[in-house]
Amino acid sequence: MVLPARRWQTRRAAARTERAGRTLHAMDIATFAIQCLNALQYGLLLFLVASGLTLIFGIMGVINLAHGSFYMLGAYMAFALAPLVAGTLGGGFFTTLLVGVVLAVILGYVLEWAFFSFLYTREHLQQVLMTYGLILVFEELRSLLVGDDVHGVSAPAILSGTLPLGDVMTYPVYRLFMSGVCLLLALGMYLVFTRTRLGMMIRAGSSNREMVQSLGIDIKFLYRVVFAAGMAIAVLAGMVAAPVSSVYPGMGDTVLILCFVVVVIGGIGSIRGALLAALLIGFVDTFGKVLLPQAAGVLVYVLMALILLWRPDGLFKAG
């Protein structure tokens, strides 16, 4: 005879095995591996967008709400520039990328000069107001110039193939290319930060503004460069993502908050932290959707809250 308590335990154990069995069924090893790949790829894309933000945020202390608009600008550039570039330079996707980035650098440089250069001595929140104004202006200019329709951007022919993945699925080569770009950029930023004089200046600038000035570095120029670089990265991210995400009004909006989450989890101004945080979010989001669909929307924020309660300065403090 089995005691009631024991019986209850057995039943619970049975339930547990059954549940485990179901989960196992839902996700065998191959699927798990593919999901990891998805998470990795999503995380890397997030990093690509967020790294520009963390650069501007960390070094200049500007909370740039318009970063999402820069991303949108990039995506629309990929759409609108392609025919122009093909017509004038005869180039394809990669030439367009190059042209876009160059334009972004120029635009970023000018934007900093026109809208931000006089704001650093003011209250920080004035900058927030400024970037908010920019969001509205960018969004409307987009509507006036390109219209409100959804557009697709096709991937370049060389990258439009797919790789077989399991028996039903395939994996688009272009996504691999995207991940490659993200990794390259991460590596590039790492090298610039650790190996070059500019990187040294940037790191010094993020930790101590007075010291930089006392070293005789032109901080105005430094800021302008950083802002332009941050913008160029966002635009690049938008252009690279365009063939996958397509371009549509309001696309910068959704990406913005996620980017801030990445930056803050990673530690403001830390490229390493941003990379780690982006990957973390990639995994949480991907597996959350599959395993905990009811809470998928909230998981990322729970993650952020938990991490910040554990480490109030993010994973890596800059400097």
Binding site: V244, D253, P293
Partner: protein, 398 residues
Amino acid sequence: MKAIEALHRTARTTLRATLLAASAALLTTAAAAESGAKLKVGLMLPYTGTYAALGNAIENGFKLYLQEQGGKIGDREVEFFKVDDESDPSKATDNVNKLIKRDNVDVLIGSVHSGVAMAMAKVAKDTGTLMIVPNAGADAVTGPMCAVNIYRSSFSNWQPGYAMGEVMAKKGIKKVVTITWKYAAGDETVRGFKESFEKGGGTVVKELNLPFPNVEFQALLTDIAATKPDAVFTFFAGGGAVKFVKDYAAAGLKKTIPLYGSGFLTDGTLDAQGADADGLMTALHYADSLDTPKDKAFRLSYAKTYKLQPDVYAVQGYDAAQILAVGMKAVHGDLSKKAEFAAAVERDKIDSPRGPFTMSKAHNPVQDIYLRQVIGKENKLIGVASKALADPARGCKN
């Protein structure tokens, strides 16, 4: 320095102008509506943001009908008042009040976003203002919220889903996975689908959801591949629909697991989706090649007027104007006779480009839902998925 001063001055003048305009707007509460001269139509549609293109199409459709009638509805000239609802339900009540109380409109046309439409319906019901919904499919508008003065020229979310469920069950498809955004339109469409599909003997083995504006589908596509259903049914619209269709094709699933959807998956998005959408089957109350005289005339006239191809939203806007015209004619321009207005609309057939339809008691179209297939950037008509399908109007006490 001069420049700055000038700027200052402009800023000040602008401020003054703002205050003047605003106070003027606030204070004029015109009692001019009584004159009976012009019919005041309030368009509360999204003109900015994600749905801006839809708002414009609806307005175009509405104005096209008006133009065909010589600029008059029920012998009254029409004056338009427009409000951008921004697809933001939290501002909806204010926006609709702007039209009702400030502009004293006789008719409300709106909106696209169903949360906004819900807020509007509440105000319309409370104030008794005539309202025609030209898109938002929220079941509740012609369900629990139904009223004698609230009409819909489009569809209920339930309708395309239900029709597609019937079709797929008839095809002998057994196991289906559904995937949509976790919000009302998605939920209601899937619910309609499930109702008819399971009635027809199929089973929905998995219902996948993702939080609303999220467009990162890869994880769920992998899940679909692992589940290996016979087919997938989906509801997405706008940018999300484009990305979903492209991702679905890129993941190679299109070849192995056929994708079906509510028609919004491929409406207004085909250019962006390109070849990835080819062959997709969807259900909606309109298609690109209906080949009826009425539709041909409509399309020709629309294309001429706006240099654009019409879409389902334009049709819905056009029909909103038709519904208004039918009612207006019956009451001879006196909108206070709500019961007679309603009786006329319920009795008459609306000669829509989508094919004639009638209005249910709850004021939702009783219409054919077409089965369409994407062929060469067009939603070609394949057949009728469900003939004269009426929304069950659950909760409507009319």
